[in-house]
């Protein structure tokens, strides 16, 4: 009795959790406190691997870099990869297993699922459905095959709102089997884009940017440059790089493609008559040029165009002899390529018919992203048991019975394939922060043979077998082409490099089991596709053309994923929310893009809220007037209007619920359709833009004091504006590297964004069809810096290596330096912007960079922490820092290699080579600031035939 009382007493006390600090008794191998380690892994995006190296400080990942050895990265990343590390530490991620809103454990779920699965087993799984996003993981592919063994009548559906159905269908038709077109822009002299934004979206865009800018780069010695024609329905960053850009309505692109194809003799005949006057002029000129560079040209169709346009592009490439040189068809990297709209349609029909008893939704947020006509929410309510495995508790989670937290990629073991097929291993950089588990582990729970296996075991087991030749389709060898010594050496090698050599499609990796000939999806190469396909596989190409033409009249609505929030999944990522969107430089909000002429006709001003009515549904969006937008089209961006998201995603409130344009999107007009009505909704919406003025501005050493001599290092930077695409990856890489705080929409609107490197955007020429230029602007590190002169306390001073240093500790915050900076690159902590309260964000921060407090000025440092790290290394070895040893975060992440940094005292350094080019100039050089960051002027390579007509239409800007 007394014992039980004593126990009760112990139980009643909530004991302070023990917080022991333990020094390393045995130091882990390679771990030196204060020195980061880098690990190769991958961050799957839309199922496709983004290969990265992740910087880890004392066990916590802080910064993402590209994997320089991986063919899909070559050291570069995109903005999403950079921002993923913030998602990892997001305190609003799904943290625990929940059942009907109550916290449970994984054990509860597994117990519950076992009984449900037992029932399903008796019916061969006929009531069991899986809904995933696009999957390229071969391990998961095999798991789904095993699942099918256990549940032969279970079905697997896939839905990704930014689906590539058209590209998939057309590539299958062209190649004769499920295939992906892989482009080689470094081989192409002439590129024609049919509404393809290949520099910023889609698998491989990072590598494509590398290749494209490599082919485009002009030096004083090498003057030939590729030529890019872009026909597009919405201004994009690819369009901004075009030498000739034609704005057409989304539906008219096909007409142009047909005209071009018939001019090339590649079919397309009949519809050529629909071509507009402008395209009539364009098509012959482009065709002539394409003919002239047979085998060295490339026609690319955009993912948002119907399969017919893709088919025309493929036909043109075929006719031009480009197949095999600038474009190759490789077996698809997807585990089970399928027409995702049909796949989801089948699912909702089955749900409606009550055939779905257990629905397991793995990733994605279909309740938010499904086409409006699928009425996913109503139908989900009819499913007796719905399970959602997700990174966040989102709209879909709220309607599912079980919510399972997903592990973040940086906490996971897994695998995914890059755009070219290279298998890339996902390895964890940190133990799961919450109770998340991976997709692999979830599927293993449903499979008898794999029950209880860890993610590590699943992945390692699959690839060890593949290495041993026990899984069909893989020919694995090391980078030199020789087989690995042992399975153990193979695995170590793979984890070190992050990818498996020999698995690229070009190397025959993932070859189809039947030798690559079969065109039928069910006989596809990878094991996974043996799971029963949804009945309506692929439409005939003709029927994929949007049926929206039925609802004619009104304007054309064009749907695009938000450039930074994507399909809505990054709504809670402050870095991406605050990253200025391309061209408009709007942060935190979606916008509807209209052309200047349409705005004038309808009396619309920037920031006016308009109501968009389309097929009986309505949404509201603030207007932005975008020169270069086709007159009859309004582009809207998916992803905003989230109803359930975290503290960041719900930071912008008010009208934002009406911003959900998924409500307007239907399954037969996923990307564009006619019949949009717009009307002023009344009222203005405040848009927080980091740049309000987009017109170009019109506008050497004078010193009586002897020049300072830099005897040691003399750092400098050159930025090639011909290469820069304006993707803003540099900005977000800088945010991640330098602990730059997120300030929120209100502060951005007040003009207090904190980005150390901004990407300025300019329109030039005719506003109907403008040229667009981008210019990344970091601190110029002026030799004759106006900021240094005016600081009363000497908090900004010149270093002996030419850097304009900012001494945070000494700064009292007069802001005079910023006033006197002609480039306005200085950033001030007007309030306490650094987040000191959210504990989960502590480990995110780069320990090499000070967290700035309130009242302090800050700015680009040329990543001085990286310079110093290299200096320590070089001094240990008693040598100078070598060229390329110091790479600032912006330069490292840049997919276009536009930013080059180095020592100006080293005559052979890359930066000196660039600065010696004729096109080098300093921004506002006439002020005698003598900027250390200089630019190489942007070049265009216009076709003289088209340029003459264009020149006539150019008006005063």
């Amino acid at each position: 009795m007394s014992a039980s009382l004593a126990l009760a007493g112990v139980g009643a006390c909530t004991k302070q959790p023990p917080e022991k600090i333990i020094p390393y008794v045995r130091q882990p191998e390679d771990l030196v406190p204060g020195k980061p380690l880098f690990f190769a892994t991958a961050l799957p995006f839309a199922g496709v691997a983004a290969p990265v190296l992740v910087e880890r400080h004392e066990g916590r990942p802080t910064k993402v870099e590209g994997n320089p050895q991986h063919p899909a990265s070559l050291g570069a990343t995109d903005a999403f990869a950079q921002a993923d590390v913030l998602t990892l530490y997001d305190p609003d991620r799904a943290q625990t297993v929940m059942y009907r809103g109550e916290v449970r454990g994984w054990g509860d779920f597994l117990t519950a699922s076992r009984s449900v699965l037992a029932i399903q087993k008796t019916k061969q799984g006929s009531g069991l459905r899986f809904l995933t996003e696009t999957i390229t993981s071969p391990t998961v592919g095999e798991q789904l095959q095993l699942l099918q063994k256990d549940f032969p009548r279970a079905k697997w559906h896939q839905w990704d709102p930014i689906t590539r159905d058209a590209a998939r269908a057309a590539a299958r038709q062209s190649a004769g089997h499920a295939a992906d077109a892989v482009y080689h822009f470094d081989q192409a002299d002439v590129v024609v884009s049919l509404d393809a934004d290949f520099l910023t979206v889609g698998p491989g865009h990072v590598r494509y940017t590398k290749d494209f800018s490599a082919r485009r780069r002009v030096t004083d010695d090498k003057k030939d440059m590729n030529r890019l024609y872009v026909v597009e329905s919405t201004p994009t960053l690819t369009g901004a790089k075009a030498d000739h850009r034609l704005a057409l309505k989304g539906a008219d692109v096909e007409g142009f493609a047909r005209a071009l194809a018939s001019a090339l003799g590649a079919g397309g005949g009949a519809a050529a008559t629909t071509a507009s006057a402008e395209s009539a002029k364009w098509a012959p000129a482009i065709a002539k040029e394409l003919q002239a560079s047979r085998g060295k040209s490339l026609v690319v169709a955009g993912d948002y165009q119907p399969a017919s346009v893709h088919a025309l592009a493929h036909a043109m490439n075929q006719t031009l002899g480009n197949v095999g040189t600038t474009v190759t068809y490789a077996p698809t990297i997807e585990v089970n390529p399928t027409d995702q709209v049909s796949s989801l349609r089948d699912l909702v029909q089955a749900m409606d018919a009550g055939q779905v008893e257990v629905l397991v939704i793995v990733g994605g947020n279909p309740l938010f992203t499904a086409p409006a006509d699928f009425r996913f929410q109503d139908r989900l309510a009819k499913v007796p048991l719905a399970v959602h495995h997700s990174l966040y508790y989102d709209e879909t989670s709220a309607y599912c019975h079980w919510n399972l937290p997903m592990a973040h990629a940086l906490e996971s073991w897994g695998d995914a394939r890059a755009y070219d097929g290279t298998v890339t291993i996902v390895q964890p950089l940190i133990a799961p922060l919450y109770e998340g588990r991976t997709m692999h582990e979830l599927f293993a729970a449903f499979i008898d043979a794999q029950n209880g296996k860890s993610g590590h075991d699943l992945v390692k087991d699959y690839w060890t077998r593949a290495h041993g030749g026990k899984v069909a389709g893989w020919t694995i060898h090391d980078t030199a082409g020789a087989p690995f010594k042992s399975a153990d050496s193979f695995w170590k090698h793979v984890l070190h490099d992050g990818w498996i050599p020999g698995t690229a499609a070009a190397d025959g990796g993932g070859r189809m089991t039947d030798g690559g000939k079969a065109g039928d999806a069910s006989a596809n190469r990878q094991p996974a596709s043996t799971i029963q396909q949804p009945s309506s596989a692929i439409h005939q190409l003709s029927s994929v053309i949007p049926a929206a033409s039925g609802a004619s009249g009104g304007l054309e609505i064009i749907f695009r994923p938000d450039p930074h929030i994507w399909d809505g999944r990054f709504a809670n990522n402050g870095w991406l929310q605050e990253l200025p969107k391309p061209i408009t430089k709007v942060t935190w909000d979606p916008t509807a893009w209209v052309s200047p002429r349409l705005a004038e006709q309808r009396g619309l001003n920037e920031g006016d809220l308009i109501e968009l009515r389309y097929r009986g549904n309505a949404a509201q969006l603030p207007v932005v007037i975008v020169p270069g937008q086709p007159d009859g089209s309004v582009t809207v961006f998916l992803g905003y209007g989230r109803r359930r998201t975290g503290r960041v995603g719900s930071a912008v409130t008010g009208e934002s619920q009406a911003f959900d344009v998924y409500k307007l999107r239907s399954s037969d007009a996923l990307w564009f359709g006619d019949g949009l009505e717009i009307a002023k909704a009344g009222g203005k919406y405040v848009l927080a833009r980091t740049q309000e003025h987009h017109l170009m501005e019109a506008p050497r050493s004078l010193s009586i004091v002897p020049e300072w001599e830099y005897n040691g290092y003399k750092w400098g930077m050159a930025i090639d504006l011909s290469s820069c695409t304006g993707c803003a990856t540099c900005t977000i890489a800088c945010v991640a590297e330098n602990n730059i705080p997120v300030v929120g929409k209100d502060e951005v609107h007040k003009g207090r964004d904190m980005h150390w490197i901004r990407v300025d955007h300019y329109f030039a020429g005719d506003l109907e069809n403008p040229e667009m230029y981008h210019q990344p602007v970091p601190c110029m590190q002026c030799e004759n810096a106006p900021c240094e002169l005016v600081c009363p306390v000497g908090a900004t001073v010149h270093s002996s290596e030419g850097l304009n240093d900012m001494v945070y500790n000494r700064c009292v915050g007069t802001r005079y330096c910023s006033n006197n900076c002609p480039y306005k690159v200085r950033r001030f902590n007007f309030l306490l912007y650094s987040d000191w309260d959210t504990k989960s964000l502590y480990p995110l921060r780069n320990p090499d960079v000070t967290i700035r407090s309130r009242g302090v000025m800050e700015k680009c440092t040329y990543c001085v922490q990286r310079i110093n790290a290299a200096r320590i290394e070089s001094e240990k070895q008693d040598r100078r820092i070598q060229d390329g040893e110091v790479v600032p975060a912006c330069a490292a992440a840049c997919p276009a290699d536009a930013i080059v940094f180095g020592d100006l005292n080293d005559p052979k350094s890359r930066v000196n080579t660039l600065k010696a080019q004729q096109r080098e100039y300093g921004l506002l050089e006439e002020l005698n600031t003598r900027p250390r960051t200089s630019y190489l002027a942007a070049l265009r390579n216009p076709n003289p035939e088209l340029e003459s007509s264009r020149g006539a239409s150019t008006t005063e800007h």
Binding site: V777, L789, R815, G855
Partner: protein
């Protein structure tokens, strides 16, 4: 108006009928009788309430940071700097009246110099609030801007005009305070002698520094006062010159101009005299001091206002001319942007206030009608505040790169701080007229006929 300029006799400096005794009685009584007009109570109450707004705004500022204001990148300076320059400028008239007019032997300064000097001190106090609080970390700026022997051997950066400003303003305040205090000593002795209450006798006695009115005292006093006047005279020119360097040293178009020093000094005197008029006109009415602050005083001050106003107008003209004549893209754009950019109303209201309005002062009727004069002075006060707004904000908001352009709007906290300092100024001023003679008693006595009868030269 009667066209008789040749026979025009200006009004006298002191109304007829006053004697030594009546002057002393009248002025000392304001302080010692303990009776104050209703206006004083109302003024002090409102002033004190507004001062509390200032305290609230400053407290919130220290808690949250300068982000509560409307400043941003590119407009890093806003109301704080505008108010600083405005207040400092106002101070100038006091020093000019007391020092320069003394040296120039302008007898009419006598009845206005005391409160004009007090105005200078309080204006500099109000101004002094801003350079400190506008910094991001005032607790450090409070001493890091001074050259103290730091153990780390870190000195201020002497090339920065902000450091020059620290010296200029602190020197100015010190000299103004000494000048004002030295001038007060004989009157403090008068108050000591006339006070009935023991406590007052002691307080005034301590501050009177043992003044007995001996010839030796008077001799030393005159010498000290003259020396201080000589010391203060260059300050009238130098302080606002240095303040103008805060801008002129910068490279921002609209700041980087050599015309700024004289233009700022003229503007300061212009605004300062307007402020003296703004204070003097209600005061003479409230305390019935029409005998001492006569229309002659008002007219003279109006004339100074007119002249400095014309200099300021010339400054605007030159600014616009050189915007065009320099053929510098940025300078040209700057002036065009001021006139037609988003802040165009500010510029044109400023032109109306500072160039058009003072032209009324050509008319004697306006100069000698206190009500009208008060209106003109008020408009000039507003205009000069707008001038600083135009210089600070419109220059910064669109400088070199269009991509970095922005807009600035004062927030409620900007206004609270600005209006709060007005409250502080009013409060200090009312306290001053309650405890000290607002007009110099002994100097007024030199103006009464008795002083002349005895053959003295005045002083």
């Amino acid at each position: 108006m009667d066209p008789k300029p040749a026979t025009y006799e200006p009004p006298p400096l002191i109304a007829p009928g006053h004697s030594f005794a009546s002057v002393t009685d009248k002025i000392a009584a304001i302080v010692l009788s303990g009776r104050q007009p209703m206006g004083w109570f109302i003024g002090v109450t409102i002033g004190f309430a507004i001062t509390m707004v200032l305290m609230g705004a400053l407290t919130y500022l220290l808690i949250k940071g300068t982000g509560i204001w409307g400043i941003n990148i590119p407009v890093g300076w806003g109301f704080a700097i505008i108010n600083f320059v405005w207040w400092i400028g106002i101070g100038h008239a006091g020093t000019l009246i007391s020092a320069i007019l003394l040296l120039l032997k302008q007898g009419w300064r006598t009845s206005i110099n005391r409160f004009a000097e007090a105005m200078t001190l309080f204006a500099v106090m109000c101004a002094g609030v801003f350079p400190l609080i506008h910094t991001g970390r005032p607790w450090l700026a409070a001493y890091w801007l001074f050259p103290y022997p730091s153990s780390m051997s870190i000195w201020p950066q002497f090339r920065s005009p902000l450091i020059w400003d620290v010296f200029a303003v602190s020197t100015y305040f010190t000299v103004s305070l000494l000048f004002w205090y030295v001038g007060l000593i004989p009157d403090l002795a008068t108050l000591r002698d006339r006070a009935k209450r023991r406590s007052l006798q002691i307080i005034y006695g301590v501050f009177a520094l043992g003044w007995r009115g001996s010839v030796k005292h008077w001799d030393r006093y005159e010498q000290a006062y003259l020396l201080l006047a000589g010391l203060a005279t260059p300050l009238v020119l130098s302080v606002h010159t240095v303040v103008s360097f805060d801008f002129a040293i910068g490279i921002v178009p609209g700041w980087h101009t050599t015309i700024f020093p004289p233009y700022f000094v003229a503007g300061a005197i212009y605004d300062g005299f307007a402020m003296v008029l703004t204070l003097a006109i209600p005061l003479r009415w409230m305390y019935g001091l029409q005998d001492f602050i006569t229309l002659r005083h008002l007219e003279n001050m109006a004339k100074v206002t007119l002249v400095t106003g014309l200099i300021v107008g010339y400054g605007y003209l030159m600014e616009a001319f050189f915007g065009w004549y320099s053929a510098n893209t940025y300078e040209g754009f700057m002036i065009w942007n001021r006139m037609t950019g988003p802040y165009w109303p500010m510029y044109w209201v400023l032109v109306f206030c500072n160039i058009i309005t003072p032209q009324w002062l050509w008319f004697r009727r306006v100069r000698t009608t206190p009500g009208l004069l008060f209106c003109v002075a008020m408009v000039v006060n507003i205009g000069m505040w707008l001038e600083r707004f135009v210089i600070v904000v419109t220059s910064l908001h669109r400088d070199f790169l269009p991509s970095a352009w922005g807009m600035y709007h004062g927030t409620i906290w900007d206004w609270a701080t600005f209006i709060g300092t007005l409250g502080l100024f009013v409060t200090l001023f009312f306290l001053f007229i309650r405890v000290l003679p607002m007009i110099s008693i002994f100097e007024m006595r030199t103006l009464v006929p008795e002083a002349k009868v005895q053959g003295a030269e005045g002083h």
